[in-house]
């Protein structure tokens, strides 16, 4: 009975029902091969001890790598620094751009476009090029920033921005923020263009002050974008700063600029410790994943959508 039923289906129809599969096959195959399969292998390696040499074989150690992470002196430092990076990114990715976008909203298009073209430029710059430029700007004795500060009489002797403890993390953050600020302003401007102008006309009739209008009309209406930019900062700041850390400070001085993504790289690639590197990677993949889901829920529940 089964066979006859099977024969009734024309082969052509059968192939057609698989149409979606054929079209998705390249993307599914490539993502399976280069993202999901390696992710599974990373989970596997996180329970192994292995120095990545072809001559050695991975050895099962259970949760040892995860436990060792918490004992590692740099781990806590990387965690705290990551938090500082995220908090420090918020002014560049959210607060300043939000103010700029609101203030410039009613400017004429021509002026707006010129400003946009210019302040967006950092976003497209290659990161190593950016690192080299800022290394020169931050030069401890002859860098233009130090020369300007000395010229203004604010300091007597050059600050070693990237080489001393309190300033290094801030300097890395400033570089990443410099890249981000134009992009964020643009995203908020785009969100503002979508706001229905009749709300403001009604508010003007009620003689509501401009500040109050911003707080009670503008902000709620663009809250989805605000939450989206906050989410981007939380999830990706530690990844965005990676290249500057690797080119400029190597995590130093004394782990002052390291973060969780840089730590994964140090464990896995520099120290040939596949187990520790993988354990850190899985730990933070799960952690950031949970954060992303939580923000998504917050967005669904609290963000205000104008229908």
């Amino acid at each position: 009975m089964f066979l006859s039923k099977f024969q009734n289906i024309k082969i052509k129809d059968f192939i057609r029902t698989l149409n979606p599969l054929w079209f998705m096959l390249p993307a599914l195959f490539l993502m399976g091969l280069w993202t999901y399969w390696p992710l599974i292998k990373t989970v596997f390696y996180s329970f192994m001890e292995w120095n990545m040499l072809p001559s050695s074989t991975p050895e099962m150690v259970g949760f040892e790598n995860y436990l060792r992470l918490f004992d590692h002196p740099d781990f806590g430092k990387a965690l705290v620094n990551t938090l500082w990076y995220i908090i420090g990114m918020l002014p560049f990715a959210v607060i300043i751009p939000l103010i700029l976008a609101i203030v410039t909203e009613n400017m004429n298009t021509k002026a707006k476009n010129i400003y946009r073209t210019l302040f967006f430029l950092p976003m497209i710059m290659p990161p190593v090029t950016v690192a080299i430029i800022w290394r020169w700007l931050f030069h401890p004795s002859v860098g233009v920033i130090n020369q300007a500060l000395m010229g203004l009489g604010l300091i007597d002797q050059g600050i070693n921005f990237l080489g001393s403890e309190p300033t290094a993390l801030f300097s890395i953050l400033l570089i990443a923020g410099w890249k981000m600020i134009g992009f964020s302003t643009l995203m908020f401007s785009a969100a503002l263009t979508g706001v229905d102008k009749s709300y403001y006309e009604a508010a003007d009739l009620d003689r509501t002050s401009k500040l109050r209008q911003t707080l009670t009309i503008t902000l709620p209406l663009i809250s989805p974008m605000v939450i989206y930019m906050i989410m981007l900062s939380i999830l990706f700041t530690a990844q965005w700063t990676f290249v500057y850390i690797n080119v400029l400070t190597l995590g130093g001085p004394a782990s002052a600029t390291t973060n969780v993504y840089y730590l994964m790289y140090v464990y896995g690639i520099k120290n040939f410790n596949a187990g520790m590197g993988s354990a850190a990677a899985i730990l933070f993949f799960v952690l950031f994943g949970i954060i992303a889901i939580m923000i998504n829920q917050i967005n669904k529940r609290f963000a205000f959508y104008d229908n």
Partner: protein
């Protein structure tokens, strides 16, 4: 009159931001043109502009080779990502099928997987394929992009169903429908997304640094970093190399700035 006075603080604010955005790039170019005797002074213009830094940089870093490598890597990646994405996005919007939601989730979730979480296995794979220090080794892990799939999904969702149904009546194969009916109509979206993917490809760093450091195969970011580690204090030459490395991408930006800005606004970033 009153309204233009009111505008002054706004413009001042924006000019300040522009200065913050542009000054580092200005300083890069100016420093690269300064002769050795002037490089350590904070002069805003070089008194006697010279190209000696550029000669030094070009003689010590194969800038043109590196730029060509980057161009090849970024272009091949972009084309592969666009092709795999448009096919997947077409399938997801064309048919209602079992497991569609699941597959959508599978695609979306990769957005959360950072390179650092998969670099060790991929590094081992590329090494065992003998592809270390080749452009292909840099390209392969970036041949499919979630970002591209989701972007094209939203572009195709609003594609008029009537056009596709008319093509089905004409007995066109699904592949022909995609290439002859759909693609010509979403060309603007494909181009603007392609530009973004190209910029991402051009600026990719971590993966290239891991698998490809041989100067005749490496992208320019890697060559630049090697030059930095060799010539830590040749500031003029470093600035010249930095300038040369960013000229192609800045030229692309200035030529298509409106389009590039709009595509960033439309698609966001990875």
């Amino acid at each position: 009159m009153i309204s233009s006075i009111k505008q002054i603080p706004k413009h001042a604010l924006l000019i300040l931001l522009c200065a913050f955005a542009i000054f580092p790039l200005y300083w890069m170019v100016i420093s690269s043109l300064k002769p050795l005797g002037e490089i350590f002074t904070p002069s805003m213009f070089p008194s006697a502009p010279t190209l000696e830094n550029y000669t030094y940089a070009v003689n010590n870093v194969p800038i043109f080779r590196l730029t060509l490598n980057t161009l090849i890597i970024a272009s091949v990646q972009t084309v592969a990502q666009l092709v795999s994405a448009v096919m997947a996005a077409y399938a997801l919007t064309r048919w209602e099928f079992k497991g569609r939601g699941l597959i959508f989730t599978i695609f979306s979730l990769t957005w959360l997987v950072p390179m650092q979480a998969i670099m060790i296995p991929n590094y081992i794979t590329i090494t065992s394929l003998g592809l270390r220090n080749t452009m292909l080794g840099v390209i392969l892990p970036f041949t499919a992009s979630t970002f591209a799939i989701l972007s094209l999904y939203s572009a195709l969702k609003s594609f008029p169903k009537a056009l596709i149904e008319a093509a089905v009546m004409d007995k066109l194969s699904e592949f022909s429908i995609l290439t002859r009916i759909v693609l010509p109509n979403i060309k603007p979206a494909m181009v603007s997304l392609g530009i973004l993917l190209f910029i991402h490809g051009w600026n990719e760093y971590l993966w290239a640094m891991l698998v490809n450091t041989r100067i005749d195969q490496a992208p320019i970011q890697i060559g630049l970093q090697q030059f930095l580690s060799l010539e830590r204090n040749e500031w003029g030459a470093l600035m010249a190399a930095a300038t040369l490395s960013s000229i192609p991408i800045i030229a692309l930006y200035l030529a298509l700035q409106k389009m590039i800005i709009n595509s960033f606004v439309k698609w966001g970033i990875k």
